[in-house]
Symmetry: C2
Subunit: 424 residues, 2 copies
């Protein structure tokens, strides 16, 4: 039975509306879960192994609900283009390389190391269409002790020839991975990953929905990122009344837990469907800026209580840092507010932090908060080089860290109460 | 006579439309200025001292046209507010501390060190209203060997009582600094700095305009950052037809070279006045996002050939990194394009880089480019940890550095052909 106490300045968000702050306190964990936060240690907790981070911030690990591992080498490249030309010029050619396991290993080791370095303890990841390199990515995540859902991408139409699978092969490979990995690790799980409607035939989506329901495996995809994409889906599926209902028709929209990335150009009807089906929205502001996709009206999702997390969307997004994504989300919401009659109020710092921790974390379960019974996933932040702490309260320190901190400030990473070493 | 050769992968923008790239070449400097770029060294250049940065990028030093030194301790704080409440709650109370020279020195040393660390070799800086700490800031810049214009702020109305100067004192202090510093250093110069119209009486502005013309000293201020501010100026100056014409009336709008920060909500008539008077616009996208000010329609300025530079606007902007500001400028322009009928096309990477180097640099003279006769201000960038360089061309490497690099990648800084040591 693992026991641990972390001492420091503890900050988290159990609700989006405010930071909860515990100065110079003890975060107590047992069996990988939070017992509680205490000002003084009493009883048996006095005998737990204690790590003294006095003066440091202790916050929940970050959760990235949407990113593409095989696009990592394209980080920061090609961003003078919009989604569809960007896919064809940069993304598909890079993804085609992942039949080569040696290349895949080189990229994926670095990718996981960088997630660790930036404090992303839970990630929901697109792999490529390749079965073997997807398994490799899952094995490397297992080795790292970080938490992840990893999805082999499915595509049987409208992509480059090298990446086009037969419908049958796509389904067989997906099922093989599910069977092999669904119970292999408590931290790393498979997720069904139709890339997006344009690259998946109806037969493929039907088969994937069947697998999702059969094995109770979650689903991730993209929704309404770009207006040209939305129009394309309308042409491909005139029988469906909107983009979301194509996924819904094939049991890929909340029949098992589901994440849809972007959700910029949804109709109200689609938002209602997300709400009713408890579909998560992964908000990826950097990517949406970079690919000129638009601004997700996040307040509409908040008002409807649609579950929301944040995504770096590597490599449409250029930054794997979730604090950078939080800042971009706040900035995007301010522009949406300003240019839409000040109707939808901007995100506050605590809201952005919530979406990047507990909001996205709830896709995994009790993840992303320091309430009792949540998993003890934590980051230790040394913010002493960010300015002068005299007179700053914890709320100000966490805001300053969100805006001005980077990976250098993260000095330790914990998942389920255990310190995570730098991945190899 | 100083002579130097820097060898490496040379990238700059002599025009905004494309990166000029010279792989594995020699940048030759003499007396602090660029002689030229050569593929092979010939003649006397063979005898110049050579620094070998093979495989590294060599680019012009960055130029920050707008930031506030005394706001540095507020970096990343208070950004859940708009401009006017933010000024009153965070900014004015902080600026009031700079009567204390000991405090000022602590902050200003760190401020200059961080500019250096982030490769900003030329900066146009607001100080506070305080004469002595403004002189201190100028002396510290002189000691650093970085290039700067530094302005004592003028305010004789509508600010906090501690920061309100008498009109006479404000003018006397400003003139004293001009006389003492206009010939003290070739790199560090005074600039006349009415904070903005609302905090400067007509008498003060008239006096400042007189000083500007009398001594041929440049001017900086703020223009049309926030709609409430624009409305306030209209109420204060019903005799003037717009915000810009208030400055213009008092010889503070291009009569000597002038920078106006923000320029978000200008009328076409104001833009024409900027163009005719050759007034620089300092585009501060992070700040404009953070304070919900809006998006500067930068393409309109480009089309009119109004000179443009970028500003970090510390601490309305949270990041002192000019590459972060470049990315924000690109992202902002994409949203402006998308939400305004795709009329004003977004900035490309080379345009953003140009504005952050030669665009802003032209306020100083021949600064920000590697054309012959420009000053040799350069950064050496080690981008080897940003990914795999195999097969990437220099244009891709510079894009990736803009999006994903940070201060760690800057391994050496040169101003006028001399290596600049870390400021103390």
């Amino acid at each position: 039975m693992s026991k641990i106490v972390l001492k420091g300045d503890i900050v988290f968000t159990s609700s989006k509306d405010r930071f909860e702050t515990y100065e110079d306190s003890y975060l107590v964990g047992k069996n990988g879960k939070i017992v509680g936060i205490f000002k003084e240690l009493e009883g048996e907790y006095k005998d737990y192994p204690l790590v003294d981070y006095t003066g440091k911030l202790i916050i929940p690990g970050f959760v990235d609900l949407h990113l593409h591992a095989p696009q990592y080498p394209n980080q920061g490249l090609g961003l003078d283009k919009e989604l569809l030309p960007w896919l064809n010029t940069y993304t598909f050619p890079e993804e085609a390389k992942y039949g080569d396991l040696e290349y895949a290993e080189k990229v994926y080791r670095r990718f996981i190391k960088d997630l660790w370095r930036h404090g992303t303890t839970s990630a929901v990841v697109f792999s490529s269409v390749h079965k073997e390199s997807t398994k490799l990515l899952m094995d490397l995540f297992i080795e790292s002790n970080l938490r992840a859902y990893v999805g082999k991408v499915n595509m049987d139409r409208n992509t480059s020839p090298e990446l086009t699978e037969s419908t049958e092969r796509s389904l067989l490979d997906t099922e093989e991975i599910i069977i092999e990995y669904r119970k292999k690790s408590p931290l790393v799980k498979p997720i069904i990953t139709p890339r997006f409607v344009p690259t998946c035939s109806s037969e493929l989506m039907e088969g994937l929905g069947r697998l999702a329901v059969k094995y109770g495996v979650p689903v991730q995809s993209h929704l309404s990122e770009n207006k040209n994409e939305v129009e394309w889906v309308r042409e491909l599926h005139p029988e469906c009344k909107n983009y979301a209902s194509v996924y819904n028709k094939y049991n890929l929209f909340g029949q098992t837990k589901t994440i849809m990335a972007h959700c910029i150009h949804n109709t109200d009807e689609e938002l209602d469907l997300m709400k009713n089906n408890r579909v998560f929205a992964a908000h990826c502001p950097h990517s949406n800026y970079n690919l000129s996709s638009g601004i997700m009206p996040i307040r509409k999702f908040v008002e409807r209580k649609i579950p929301i997390g944040l995504g770096s969307d590597i490599s449409g997004g250029h930054s794997i840092s979730m604090t950078s994504v939080m800042v971009a989300a706040i900035q995007a919401s301010k522009m949406y507010w300003l240019y839409n009659n000040k109707e939808y109020k901007p995100l506050t710092s605590s809201e952005a932090f919530f979406f990047g921790t507990k909001g996205g974390g709830s896709f995994f379960g009790k993840v992303g908060s320091f309430e009792a019974d949540y998993v003890l996933d934590a980051l230790v932040i040394d913010d002493s080089d960010l300015g002068y702490n005299n007179g700053l309260n914890l709320e100000e320190r966490i805001q300053r860290y969100i805006y001005n901190g980077d990976d250098r400030n993260i000095i330790d990473v914990y998942v389920e109460g255990r310190r995570v070493e730098e991945p190899k």
